[in-house]
Amino acid sequence: MPLPPLLISGASTPAPRWRGSKTAVVACAALVVVVLLALLAPVLTSYGEAQILPGSELLPPSRTHLFGTDVLGRDVLTRVLYGSRISLGLAFLATVVATALGTAVGAAAGYSGGRVDALLMRLVDTLLALPRVLLLIGLLAIWPQLPLHVFVLVLGLTAWFPLSRLVRAEVRAIVTRDHVLAARALGSGHLQIVFRHVLPNAIGTVLVAAPLIAGGVIVLEAGLSFLGVGVQPPTASWGSIAYDGFEVVNSAWWVALFPGLAIAFTVTAINMLGDVLRDALDPRQLPLR
């Protein structure tokens, strides 16, 4: 496998070894399918996201309504497809926010060491001790019509703590390596060292942890929406659809089942991707020539 050419930045990642990993193929294919379904929602279904079909309330799965209809007579498949846009989008954006913050705080603590490190890590300890779900429920109870972008931010802002610990530990180990010392001896500045010598080597940890954050965010969003405090109707998310279905679960199981399955399927695929990334980034897996 050819390696990337000499880059000006120099801090590129050697091409990981993907070949031969069935898990990788399955996980990636599953996620591509989920994302495609979300993007192509308007093409795949002829109903609108919140379109109510009078007289079609709580129809079981059939040829016209593969996933049945809900209590208001909306097509559940359509809702799940549109809901995936919200759920995936939220997860993606919140993960970006959490990953950036976690990496920044972890790198700052690990690279600085000493007091800065102690201070930041005590802060993280405190934040980790906060009951996150209760906090979010409380916040959403105070501010029930939380705009979606603020909701994303809040999810991201409360998801970075464990990652910062991981990154910090990794960075502590990396800064003791001789190539970091060599960079100092050459006269490199701190930012240069962090961005060229430290972070590229911690990227594996981040890439492995990020999917776990994404999976967590999907589950958390679903949970909050299920409790009725997350994504607000008529916007559909997997959690809010399941919430709608929960009230009628005894008579119309399909309303809650299909968004539930979508969550399980997606989160499993994302977690598999995390495993694959960890293996692929193991330096021993790098090709020789």
Partner: protein, 371 residues
């Protein structure tokens, strides 16, 4: 020259054994360098003591010269090397590089100094960034110090690679594609990129196989000859040091205990620790069965070093006595250019009367075991 004294009763002189290379001012002058690492305990991180990793080390290094710094693990030799480049901040003492006080430098001026003093590491696996091509690693110094850019930098990288015996086409490969010896060559090329005058070689061949070790040792010698480099060559392998060094300093528990030309130190080691160290090296010749000085016990903890001479609990000098446990032996000139710290090896500036007053019962006498 009147540097400050190094220990109790140290005469106000400085070890300057002369060799042919020494003319003009030294490139590097280290005086009374000290590094104490605090030992912290408990959740509050209270300091309960200090590890005296380096405890008053002085030496000089002239342009084009190799000073070997030998000793066993924990003796402070690597710490000394790092303090010289200010990769570690000394607790006390001074370092002058090319006449400038290194410890007073900061910011841009410290960076400028680093162009002239580089380091090569022991572990060829951790000394290169696995995510950077070796070309980029070598290029880094060129960019930082604005030595070359663009096409000119590419050319310089290729030149450096061929200078250390690697194919220029290797520039776009990653460290994991190279063997230990080849990586060590990359590390050397990286150090050379900024055209330094001093290279601290921190155990540069210790991790290499014998056949590869010889390649790297020869390369270092060639580079020194071609570029007039000075080396501070830190190693625990005494045979490699004998081969490459002009002068050798032996360290034990944070102190230099002997400093002399390589010829003198291997032919006539005066400090009993040096004697034991040399005698312990296995000889690759089954017909030679040396009478070995086997030291008993382990090196004491540098957090709690012995009083007096730090080597006295393990010393095999037949004249060792109470005085050795009380008096700190100064590093003194025993013969021209041959410095050693032992009050029982005559001549010594610590007079017999002083020794007697400290409980000495045995007069100093030359001891040179058959090695």
């Amino acid at each position: 020259m009147t540097p400050p004294s190094a220990g109790v009763g140290t005469p106000d002189v400085h070890p300057t054994p002369t060799t042919s290379r020494q003319s003009g001012p030294p490139l590097l002058e280290v005086r009374d360098l000290v590094k104490h690492f605090p030992i912290r305990r408990g959740i509050l991180g209270r300091t309960v003591g200090h590890v005296r990793a380096v405890d008053g080390v002085s030496f000089q290094l002239w342009p084009g010269e190799t000073l070997g710094l030998v000793g066993e693990s924990g003796c402070g030799k690597s710490t000394t090397g790092r303090m010289v480049l200010r990769l570690l901040e000394p607790s006390a003492g001074s370092v002058h590089f090319d006449g400038a006080d290194v410890l007073a430098l900061s910011g841009a001026r410290l960076r400028a100094m680093r162009r002239h003093a580089q380091i090569i590491f022991q572990d060829p696996f951790s000394s290169l960034n696995p995510r950077m091509t070796i070309g980029a690693a070598i290029r880094e110094g060129l960019t930082i110090h604005r030595i070359a850019a663009g096409e000119a930098a590419d050319r310089r990288v290729r030149e450096l690679l061929s200078e250390v015996g690697l194919r220029p086409q290797f520039a776009d490969r990653y460290p994991h594609e190279f063997s230990g010896g080849q990586r060590q060559r990359v590390g050397i090329a990286r150090a050379l990129s900024v055209s330094p005058r001093l290279i601290v070689c921190d155990e540069p061949v210790s991790a290499l196989d014998v056949s590869v070790q010889a390649q790297v040792v020869n390369l270092l010698q060639d580079l020194q000859r071609d570029r007039g480099l000075a080396y501070l060559f830190i190693a625990h392998d005494l045979s490699v040091v004998e081969h490459i060094a002009d002068r050798v300093a032996v360290m034990y528990l944070g102190h230099i205990v002997e400093l002399a030309s390589a010829t003198d130190i291997y032919r006539e080691p005066l400090m009993p620790y040096t004697q034991a160290l040399l005698s312990a090296v296995p000889v690759p010749d089954p017909t030679v069965r040396s009478t070995r000085v086997v030291l008993s016990g382990d090196v004491p903890s540098p957090a709690n070093p012995p009083s007096g001479c730090v080597f006295h609990p393990r010393c095999q000098h037949p004249r060792k006595d109470e005085a050795c446990t009380k008096l700190v032996p100064p590093l003194e000139e025993k013969s021209a250019g041959h410095w050693a710290a032992c009050i029982k090896q005559p001549p010594t500036t610590v007079h017999w009367e002083v020794q007697k007053a400290a409980g000495g019962t045995r007069q100093p006498e030359r001891y040179l075991p058959d090695l």
